[in-house]
Subunit: 473 residues, 2 copies
C-alpha cells in the first residue's frame, strides 16, 4: 500500500493537474498539532492512560467510520444533523430517487448516497462493540478508549469539529465499588496533572425522589433541566423557568429547601436523607451517595468531593450516580463527567447490561494546563543533545558517540549538514535542545567531546561514558 | 460537549426512533481492536515511537479530514476514486448543477456536494503542513506521525480501508547523514521487535544512469516498472515486458549484466561503479550508495544491508536513495519503505524543500509478529493482581491495599461484586491475571493478604509491603 501511494503521488506530479491553492489550509474546526503541542497532549494522554491501566482498564479502539444505521437516531435530531456523513464510493447517484432530488429533499436523499458516518462520540461505538463482541467479552468488562470524534458543530472558541475523548467504562457490574474506583481514577489523574479539582456528585434516584417529593414525578425532566442551570442563572430565574414549565407554586416552594441545603458533605447528605425519608427511590439514591462518598473518602482523596443536587448531566441517560469535575483555578466548564447507566446496549438489542463510566475532556484539560502552565520540564524538551557537524570525519565520530548515547536512552541529534556554526547553534536554540556536543579537530584527536550546557553556557571536555553518566546519573 | 452528547443520547432513547439492526456491525474493511490486540499494537507503536524519539524525530498530528483541494490530484486518477469524501453539512443539494445529476455525472457532482475528504496517506498532509506552517518551522525539520489513513480499496486479506501509517521524515537537508540515521532507525526498530530483516537499497540516480547506459534515457519509467517485478516474474518475463514497452534488443541485452550483478555488497557496488563509469548521473548514484552503506555499516547494523538495482518503489517520486525492508522469516511484502525526494512541497507552491523519509507498515509488522509469536510477556498481561471480593468489610480492606499497590505502579483490580468465588476466579483466569489476592475473614483479622500465583497455584500469606516487594523487587 505504501508503494501504491508513492506511485500514485508520482503519477499526480507527472500529470500536473493539481487543484491545490497556493496557500493550503485545513477544514474549519480542525487543527494541526505541532511538535510542542503534541508533547503536551501526549503528557495528558499518557497520564490518563497510565492511571486507567493501574485500575485494570484496558484499551480498545473502534473504526473512525461506523455504519449510519449504528449512529443515526442515537443523538437526537440535532445530533443526526451534526454527524459527518461519508459519500458512498463509485456511482452514488445510481438508484437514487430523483423525486427527492427534484424536491430538494436532501434529508431523505442522504441515506441513499451515504451509508457511513464518522463517530460522534465513544459511547455509541462502545455499546455497538459490546453487543457485537458479546460472546468474546468477559464481564465485568473494563475498557478505556482514547480516540478522536467528529461533529459538524459550528466551530467556536474551544469547540472543534475534531477532538479527542478519553473514556473509561465498566459494564456488567452493579457494584458501587466501580463508582468508588472511577472517583479514585479521577482524583489520581488530576493529582498527577497537578490540577486542583472539585468532584461534584449527584444521583438520578435523588432527582426522581425530589420530583416525587414536590408532587411532580412526571416533571422530572423539566425540573432537572431547569435546576441544572442554577449556578449560571440563580434560583429566582430557575423558579421562573420551573413555573413556565408548568410547575405549581407549591411545588416550587417545596423544592427551595432542597436547593438550599448547606453544610458539610456529611451534613448535606444527612439533611437530604431527612427530606426524602418518605420517598423510597429518593432514600435509595441518598444511600448510594453515602456509600460512594464514604468509601471514597475512607481511601483518601485529594480532590474536593461535593454533593450537588442540581447536577443532572444528560438527564435520563443516567440511572444512578452522576459525576462532574470542575477545575478550581480556571474558569472553564466541566473537564470530566460521567455516571451510571442501566441500558447502554438496549438500543442494539442487548438488554440488562448495566455500566458506569467517565469521560475526560482532553481539550479542556489541555486549556487548563496551558492557563496554569503546569507542564513538567520534560514536555518542553525532545532532543537532549545535539552534535554540531564539522565535516565528514568529525560527523562520523559524532554518529558513533550518538549511537552509544542513544543506547543509554538519551535522545540525540547529529546536525546533518556541516553548516556554519552559528546556524547550527540557532537550530539547537530554537529547538530547545539543552546540550550541544562538539567534536572538532582537537576533540577528534583527543577522542573527547566538548559538552556545552545551553542554559548556562558552561563547557566540559568529556568522554562519551562521562556524558552518559552526567545525563543519566 | 460531553453534556451535549449524553443529553442527545437521552433524547434519542426517549423518541425511540432507532434504525439500528438487531446485530450491529462495522463497515467492511474496518476493524475493532480488542484489548489483547491493542496491547500488541501498542507494543509496536511504542517501540517505533521510542526509537523515533531517540533520533530527535518529534511527533505531529494532522486532522483526519483535509480539504479535497489538498487531496485531489495527488494520488492519480485511481487515488482520487479511492478517497473517502465527506458530504457537506446542511442542504448540500442547494446550488448543485441539476444537469449533472440528470446526466448521472457523479464525478463532476462530487465537488459540488463535498469539499472534504479523509486523509489517504501521511505524506500529502505532511507536505501541506510544512507549507502551511513554514514560518514556524525550524529547518531541518524532523517529524514523525502515527495516524490512521483511509482508502476505499476493495477489502481483501491484509488490506483494510482504515489502517495506520508510521512515518518519519526530515525535510530541509540534503545530507546523506539523514539516510544513515533512518537506516539506523529501521535497524533499531526491528532489533527491538526481534524481527530479522533485510534492508534493500537503491538510488534513483543509478536507475537513471542505467537507462542512459543502455541508450534509453527516455524509457526510465518503463525500465523501472518492468525490472521492479524481477523477483516475482523472473528475468525472461521482465525482458518480454521491456520489449513490449518498446525497448530494443540491444538495450535489453545491455541491461542484463546489470541485473545479474552478484557478490558481496561491496563487490556489487564496485561492479556497478565500473559499469556506470562513463555516466555522470549513474556515478553520482553509486557514490551516494557507497557513502550511505559505508557510514551505516561503520556504525554496526544488525539487519542485512543489500543493494537491489531493480528496486524502484514509486519511480519518479524518489530522487536519490530508495529503501525497502523485507522480513527474513515470514513471506510477506515490504514491511517498511522510503527514500529521498526533492520537491515534496512543490505541489503546494513551495519549491526547494528536499527531504528523506521512511514509513513503517504497522499492519504488516503486526502480521509478522503474530506469525512468529514474538510478543514479550508484558503484552499478554494487563492487570497483575486481582483482589477477590468477599463482601463489604473485606472489599474495603482490598481497596485500601490496592491503592498502596497502585502507588507502587502495580496494576490492580478489585472484583466489584461479592460473587461466587468460582466466578471471580474464572474472571481472573480468562483475563490472564497472574496473581489473585485474597482478603477473607482470617486475613482481615490478621491484616494480611493471601497471594496466589495462578500459574503455579502456590499461595503465601503476606503483608501489602511484602507483596509490593515481591512484584517490584
Amino acid at each position: 500500500m505504501v508503494v501504491n501511494a508513492f506511485f500514485a503521488t508520482f503519477a499526480a506530479k507527472k500529470t500536473k493537474t493539481t487543484m491545490a491553492p497556493r496557500k493550503p489550509s485545513i477544514p474549519k474546526g480542525t487543527r494541526d498539532f505541532s511538535t510542542a503541542e503534541m508533547a503536551r497532549r501526549n503528557y495528558i494522554f499518557d497520564t490518563i492512560r497510565e492511571v486507567f491501566g493501574l485500575y485494570g482498564y484496558r484499551q480498545i479502539e473502534t473504526p473512525a467510520m461506523e455504519n449510519l444505521s449504528t449512529l443515526m437516531g442515537k443523538y437526537g435530531d440535532e445530533g443526526d444533523k451534526l454527524l459527518f456523513k461519508i459519500l458512498n464510493s463509485g456511482d452514488y447517484l445510481r438508484g437514487t430517487d430523483r423525486e427527492l432530488i427534484d424536491a430538494g429533499d436532501y434529508v431523505h436523499l442522504t441515506p441513499q448516497i451515504s451509508d457511513k458516518g464518522l463517530r460522534y462520540d465513544l459511547t455509541v461505538p462502545f455499546a455497538r462493540f459490546v453487543v457485537q463482541h458479546r460472546e468474546e467479552l468477559q464481564l465485568p468488562f473494563k475498557r478505556f478508549q482514547i480516540q478522536p470524534v467528529w461533529r459538524a458543530d459550528r466551530p467556536q472558541k474551544g469547540r472543534y469539529r475534531e477532538f479527542y475523548q478519553c473514556d473509561a467504562d465498566v459494564v456488567g457490574s452493579d457494584s458501587l465499588l466501580n463508582e468508588v474506583e472511577l472517583l479514585q481514577i479521577i482524583d489520581q489523574v488530576f493529582r498527577r496533572l497537578r490540577i486542583r479539582v472539585a468532584i461534584k456528585l449527584n444521583n438520578r434516584k435523588v432527582l426522581a425522589g425530589i420530583a416525587e417529593l414536590i408532587g411532580a414525578p412526571d416533571k422530572l425532566i423539566d425540573i432537572t433541566v431547569a435546576i441544572d442551570k442554577i449556578d449560571k442563572i440563580g434560583i429566582d430565574k430557575v423558579n421562573e423557568e420551573l413555573s413556565e414549565r408548568g410547575l405549581g407554586d407549591e411545588a416550587i416552594a417545596a423544592l427551595r429547601p432542597i436547593l438550599e441545603i448547606s453544610g458539610s458533605l456529611t451534613e448535606r447528605i444527612a439533611r437530604l436523607e431527612t427530606l426524602l425519608a418518605d420517598i423510597e427511590i429518593g432514600r435509595r439514591g441518598v444511600e448510594e451517595l453515602r456509600e460512594v462518598t464514604e468509601a471514597t473518602r475512607a481511601l483518601g482523596l485529594e480532590a474536593e468531593l461535593d454533593l450537588d443536587v442540581s447536577l443532572a448531566r444528560g438527564l435520563n441517560y443516567y440511572t444512578g450516580t452522576i459525576i462532574e469535575v470542575k477545575a478550581l483555578d480556571v474558569e472553564i466548564g466541566s473537564i470530566t463527567g460521567g455516571g451510571r447507566y442501566d441500558n447502554l446496549t438496549g438500543v442494539f438489542g442487548l438488554d440488562g447490561i448495566s455500566g458506569v463510566g467517565i469521560s475526560f475532556g482532553a481539550d479542556r484539560i489541555y486549556d487548563v494546563l496551558n492557563a496554569l502552565d503546569l507542564y513538567p520540564e520534560a514536555t518542553r524538551v525532545a532532543t537532549e543533545v545535539m552534535f554540531v557537524n564539522f565535516g565528514t570525519a568529525e560527523a562520523s565520530a559524532a554518529l558513533a558517540a550518538a549511537k552509544r548515547m542513544r543506547a543509554a536512552g538519551i535522545s540525540v541529534e547529529v546536525y546533518p549538514d556541516s553548516a556554519k556554526m552559528k546556524k547550527q547553534m540557532a537550530y539547537a536554540n530554537a529547538s530547545s535542545i539543552p546540550y550541544v556536543a562538539i567534536i572538532g579537530e582537537s576533540e577528534l584527536a583527543e577522542e573527547k567531546i566538548t559538552l556545552k550546557e545551553m542554559a548556562t553556557g558552561s563547557q566540559d571536555l568529556l568522554g562519551v561514558d562521562e556524558i552518559i553518566a552526567r545525563l543519566r546519573p
